[in-house]
Amino acid sequence: MSDGVKTILFATILCLVCSLLLTLASTGLNAFQQENARVDRQKNILQAVGVVAPGRTYPADEIKALYQSTIQCISVNAEGQVLSAEAAPQKTMPLYLYLQDEQVQAYIVPVDSRGLWGRIYGYLALDTDGSTVTGFSVYQHSETPGLGGEIENQWFQRNFVGKRIVDTAGDFVSIKIAKGAVKNMIRPDLQPNYVDGISGATMTGKFLTEGLQGILQTYEPVSVHFRTQGMLKLPENALVCQPQS
């Protein structure tokens, strides 16, 4: 057998063995990873409304129990109406409600934004006044650690608390990430609509600003409802939201 053929044969066998091992590891552990990811998403929803503290670890069962008892996921349509289970099939958006003593305390919208290197996934919680942000969390991203990756850190996420998605006149403006510190860069009357940016991560901030704008725009009918009429009317058998993939 010539050297060339031997080399190709060796490379082929090596590739087959390696891919077999990787497939085994990936499929064998997939169920555990999916479960971890599901609990992690629930934890981030709870974190956005301040039920669990960021940066602490909780047992999975505690997260699941807290989620069960305080979060309800419903489906709304593009006009912001809550759908009941009998509604005609149509395009729906998931909306999470944070309940305490049967009272809605906040609503949470899932964030799926473009980032610099990949998608940024998280949650943004808004107060029942339909305009004040009560929390923000990120559970998955591929930004550079130490730069754009700071979006997963507490100091960045705490910035969002108390910020507003409407301007002083009450019109929707979304929430933007400033270049640098808000108090140095932004006019005082606009400061409630801005959060501190991350130095060295201008692009991440730019994309996340655009992403949040798009998402809040999509959910604006829901926010308008909260702003003008207060609590959404929940039908008896609200359509449970489609679980995110």
Partner: protein, 210 residues
Amino acid sequence: MSTAIVKITRTQTYRTVADALWQNNPISKQVLGICSSLAVTVQMNTAIVMALALTFVVAFSNLVISLMRKIIPRNIRIIVEVAVIATLVIIADEVLKAFMFNISKQLSVFVGLIITNCIVMGRAETCAMSNAPYPAFVDGLANGIGYGSVLVGVSFFRELLGAGKILGFAVVPQAFYDMGYMNMGLMLLAPGAFIVIGLFVWLEHALLKS
């Protein structure tokens, strides 16, 4: 007793281990693998998991490459080494994601970056390609522990001085903070790790000279 110790210190295995842990430590003597040791040493538990992951990868990549060393075609040997290392790294990453999800999130890209860690490639190329499986495996294990020992040492000081904790448990009493003691913020940043590693390198060189 003393003859037993002399016998142990004369074995090849002992010399391999001592070399990797001390005289030729991959971080503090060869100054390899600095990137990950700056990034994952803020807390001890991430440093320990990273050390275990790297030890697993370097030991088994050495073993596998050493087993195949006589049949690996010379012209594609680097590709073969990288393929073996990459496979092991991805397996380690998948296992961490399944069973140590929180730590795997904190380690983020750095487990994946073990593939490019110079220690792993270095051992595969210089040791595994020319040694029998057993010595190669021991060499990999020892180098992983040598890397891990510096990692854990650095993270001990960074976590203690930077956050007042060891393995996540508060060890600096609240009374100290009440009296005005403050955590050293520098230790939480990468430059803090750079300084601590620099001191480790200095200490080792000074001790080896004397």
